[in-house]
Structures are given as structure tokens and as C-alpha cells.
């Protein structure tokens, strides 16, 4: 199944023209923009990394010392928020990646035979013992058996 990258030149590239066009337009805009030739830069900054840390945690006391970078915004809220966001991503990707065998969720990436009960099949056995837990809330018939997905990587062509 593994094949090397190949350059395909067919009609499917046609939409790419849009990307090119967009680039032309954006480039024109940039070239018309009157940037000041001087970059402010970070002259006389003690430690950019430290400053990043201060900014990330709203350490205003430290930020306002000599040799710091002015006008950097506070990022504590963003930091807290991204913690939740990453939780959400974790949650989401777990839900999606898990496989089901006979309606029971199993570990997402377990190898065959061992991982199927790794994620606490005891608990699930209690709750959903006699009922086949369909993942389909609507009653549309499911089309593909979940347990065939033994190749989680998904090969490209």
C-alpha cells in the first residue's frame, strides 16, 4: 500500500488557481502597504523567554521592570482557557478514536486481543450488559461494522 509521493497533474488541480489568485491579490495588498522600514525589534531586552512567561501568567509586577518589553498583553485568561480547550480536544478525540466491539467501547489504539478490556470493561458490563449500545441515536441503520476498523492509521493513496 505504501507508495511514494507522486505529482499528479490533472484537472483536480484546477481549483488551485484560486489559491494562486488569492496570493496575487494578497501580495498586491502587501506591496501597497506602507510599512515603516524600521522594525522596533527587541532592543535591550533581558530575556524574551522570560518575558513570554511573564506575559502568559499576567505577572505584571515582573513585566513592568526595567528591560522588559512594553505593550505586551496579558494572557492568563487565554492560558486558562486553552487548558479547558485542550481538555475538550482530548475528550473529543477520545470519543472519536475509541472503537466499539459488540457495542462496547474499547481502547482507541489497543492491539487486538489485549486492549479490548483495558478501559474498564467491567464497568461497562454492568451498565450496558444486555443492551447493544448503538452509537446511532437516530434509528438510521448503521452501515459499517465498527470492529473492522483494525487499521486506525488510514492509508492514503
Amino acid at each position: 500500500m505504501t507508495t511514494g509521493p507522486k505529482l499528479r497533474l490533472d484537472s483536480s488541480l484546477a481549483p488551485g488557481v484560486l489559491a494562486v489568485a488569492l496570493f496575487v491579490i494578497m501580495a498586491t495588498i502587501v506591496l501597497n502597504t506602507g510599512f515603516s522600514p524600521e522594525m522596533e525589534g527587541f532592543e535591550g531586552v533581558d530575556s524574551i523567554t522570560a518575558e513570554i512567561g511573564y506575559a502568559m501568567f499576567d505577572l505584571e509586577a515582573l513585566q513592568s521592570t526595567e528591560g522588559s518589553i512594553p505593550d505586551t498583553e496579558a494572557f492568563l485568561a487565554a492560558f486558562l482557557l486553552i487548558a479547558v480547550a485542550l481538555d475538550a480536544a482530548l475528550d473529543a478525540s477520545l470519543v472519536l478514536a475509541k472503537r466499539e466491539e459488540e457495542g462496547e467501547p474499547v481502547a482507541a489504539l489497543a492491539s487486538r486481543g489485549t486492549g479490548s478490556d483495558g478501559a474498564g470493561s467491567a464497568a461497562s458490563g454492568v451498565a450496558g450488559s444486555d443492551r447493544s449500545a448503538a452509537t446511532d441515536g437516530g434509528h438510521e441503520g448503521s452501515t459499517v461494522d465498527a470492529d473492522r476498523a483494525d487499521d486506525p492509521g488510514g492509508e492514503s493513496r
Binding site: 494562486v20 501580495a27 502597504t33 525589534g41 488510514g154
Partner: protein
């Protein structure tokens, strides 16, 4: 002697459009994801360049967050591609067309 900001911006735009090109022409879901990553990184280039240009760190810090979110996005994306493959035995994004019109 610093490189003028225009060049950074042009670079990032080029990267952005390359990413876009990939999205528009590639049918593989993973390629699609990668292309999106390119576009996000194009933004990062901008942010960092502009941070330097403006002389504040906001852009730089934000770039860090962007990267984190890009990772999170990829995580979810891969999950979706996984179930896509399970259902369609394929990761071609043009295959699922059961719903249209």
C-alpha cells in the same frame, strides 16, 4: 540590518496560499490536515514577524497558543479521519457525498 517586514509577510502569504492550494487540490484527508497546518503556521510567521516589527511580545505569545490549538485541532481531526475510514474504508474527502443538494 534586518530583513524588511514585507518579505516576512510575503513569505507567510505564500505559505498560506500553498496551504490553500493543498486544500483545494488534495483529496486525502491527511493532506488536507497538513495543509491546514501550513496555513496556521503562515499565521505564526506573521505573528512573530509583526511582534518584532511592533516591538511587543503579544504576537509571539499568541503564536504559542496557536500552535497548541493547532495540535488540538489535529487531534480531533485525526479522530474524525479515523471514524471516516471505519465508515468509508477510505480517507478520500470527496468520497462521502451521501448528503448533498
Amino acid at each position: 540590518m534586518t530583513v524588511p517586514i514585507e518579505y516576512y509577510v510575503l513569505l507567510s502569504m505564500a505559505l498560506f496560499c500553498i496551504g490553500l492550494f493543498g486544500i483545494l487540490t488534495r483529496r486525502n484527508a491527511l493532506m488536507f490536515l497538513m495543509s491546514v497546518e501550513l496555513m496556521l503556521n503562515a499565521a505564526n510567521i506573521n505573528l512573530i514577524a509583526f511582534a518584532f516589527y511592533h516591538g511587543n511580545l503579544t504576537g509571539q505569545v499568541f503564536a504559542l497558543f496557536t500552535m497548541a490549538l493547532a495540535a488540538a485541532e489535529v487531534a480531533v481531526g485525526l479522530g474524525i479521519i479515523l471514524v471516516l475510514y471505519r465508515n468509508f474504508r477510505d480517507v478520500d474527502v470527496t468520497v462521502p457525498t451521501t448528503m448533498r443538494w
